[in-house]
């Protein structure tokens, strides 16, 4: 039974791996912003890897993240497979049916396409919503885990500071 908790567990495991790989491949950034980017990148890769399915957003996220790092073996490996699959998938997705879109809906779907990674490749509105739903689940897992990590880190950070001060 796949539950939300299992999603989070998968994300955590992947995140540990990506963090270590990222840390080993880049020189130690002293800047907070660089660290933030590295953490964000690793967690994005982690949710995409945790999804590990044939969703457009996961592959698009991997390719988008892969462009941001110079040498990252795991991302490259996934990226190669993802690139091939994504080409085929885009072809099938572009079978356009007839649809009449009202103006408001059209604008909003374009905005949604810009938000969801890989959304621009999806022409079928129905499929876009499916992708969005899936993406929201994994985004939520990411937020939950990161929030917990941040809280625990904060508490342990305070404790170590107290001990050092004593």
């Amino acid at each position: 039974m796949n539950t939300y908790n299992m999603v989070k567990q998968r994300f955590i495991k992947k995140w540990i791996n990506t963090l270590h790989m990222l840390d080993s491949s880049i020189e130690h950034p002293l800047n907070v912003t660089e660290r933030k980017n590295a953490i964000r990148l690793s967690s994005d890769l982690a949710i995409a890897a945790a999804r590990s399915g044939s969703t457009v957003w996961s592959r698009a996220l991997i390719s988008r993240s892969g462009n941001k790092t110079t040498n990252k073996p795991m991302a490259r490996r996934i990226l190669k497979k993802a690139r091939n699959r994504m080409k085929n998938r885009c072809r099938t997705l572009r079978r356009n049916g007839n649809f009449t879109a009202k103006v408001g809906v059209r604008k909003r779907t374009e905005l949604l396409k810009s938000l969801v990674p890989g959304g621009e490749l999806i022409d079928d509105k129905d499929y876009l919503i499916r992708e969005t739903l899936d993406y929201i689940v994994y985004l939520r897992a990411q937020v939950d885990v990161m929030r917990t990590v941040a809280a625990v880190d904060l508490v342990t950070g305070n404790l170590t500071n107290d001990r050092r001060n004593k």
């Binding site: 908790n5 299992m6 963090l19 840390d23 929201i136």
Partner: protein
């Protein structure tokens, strides 16, 4: 609904067949229950259907929440309270996410890309899925199984419908061994030719999916109209992405290095992440291993050598300590 495009263009071989197609299932089964007595022997499932969907999901959630990380779902149903994720700002709780997460797994397995990680009973293609699901012993699973079966057979039905929709007089589709014929009754005053039937079925599917999306995004149920629902969804996605950005900034500020210690999270996840009440948990953990802060660099080095084993090892070690303390 103007989202009905694209359905007619699809042939029987559809690339992205995700589990959300199973949503059409609930609509058609309502027709089914209304029109003819169900033939399948899954009595518990039909009982499930007569309940509102959210109640059914609640029951499913009981089975989910009762299973800890170690046990499979065949455990006993200790009626745990529903756990809303503690300090979340979002009012929607875990069962919706479970439901959506389940759909995402259905999408995974149905597309043939079976990830080795999710070792659940959904992970096969339709036919084998039914057999394996049948083998599950516990009665708590019966509802889950039936739902799984019906998801997969819903997908098969969906595919067959797409192939046959243009030629069928009625909307009955030859089902797998599990489900009987599905008849869609035309309501009074509605056209009954093939096109409108197909259109109506498509519209209902889209509506069902939008309903699920509305449930997932908090505050969306009261909004009518596609544009506003999309607005809510967009806001939700944007806020989630912004939160990720802020949280990663926070993590970067707290930790001097990128590979911060996640083992504590793995150990505590069973307590804190699942229950959502992490404040008390973290305090307990502090009392147990206050030395972890000092040993952080060493653990980081160890992890470079054996990542996978290490994370699993620590996970088994610490939860015992945590649980005993509790």
């Amino acid at each position: 609904m103007d989202l009905t495009q694209g359905f007619g263009a699809r042939s029987g071989v559809v690339g992205p067949v995700t589990g959300l197609e199973s949503l059409n299932f609930s609509d058609e089964f309502r027709h089914l229950v209304a029109t003819m007595p169900p033939e399948n022997t899954g009595g518990s499932f039909t009982a499930l259907l007569e309940m509102p969907v959210t109640q059914a999901m609640e029951l499913l959630h009981f089975t989910d929440s009762s299973s800890s990380q170690a046990r499979t779902v065949t455990g006993d149903i200790a009626p745990t309270t529903l756990h809303p994720f503690g300090a979340l700002t979002f009012p929607s709780n875990s069962l919706l996410l479970d439901r959506a997460a389940r759909f995402s797994v259905i999408a995974t397995e149905h597309n043939g890309n079976i990830s080795g990680e999710t070792a659940n009973s959904l992970q096969s293609n339709s036919g084998a899925n039914l057999d394996r699901v049948k083998a599950e012993p516990a009665e708590t699973d019966s509802m889950v199984e039936n739902q799984n079966q019906n998801y997969s057979s819903g997908k098969r039905k969906e595919r067959e419908k797409k192939v046959k929709s243009s030629t069928n007089k009625t909307k009955s589709s030859v089902e797998s061994d599990k489900l009987p014929y599905v008849h869609v009754r035309a309501r009074r005053g509605q056209a009954t030719d093939n096109h409108s039937l197909a259109e109506r079925a498509r519209r209902e599917k889209i509506n069902a999916r939008m309903k699920l999306l509305q449930e997932l995004v908090p505050g969306c149920d009261k909004i009518q109209g596609t544009a506003l629902v999309l607005d809510e969804i967009i806001n939700h996605v944007q806020s989630l992405q912004r939160q990720v950005e802020m949280l990663s900034m926070r993590l970067a500020a707290v930790n001097p290095r990128v590979d911060f210690n996640l083992d504590s999270i793995l150990a505590s996840e069973n307590g804190s992440l699942m229950d959502g009440s992490f404040n008390g948990e973290s305090y307990h953990q502090l009392q147990q291993w206050p030395f972890d802060g000092y040993h952080q660099p060493e653990w980081g080095r160890e992890e470079d050598h054996h990542q996978a084993n290490f994370s699993m090892g620590s996970a088994t070690l610490h939860p015992n300590q945590v649980k005993m303390e509790l």
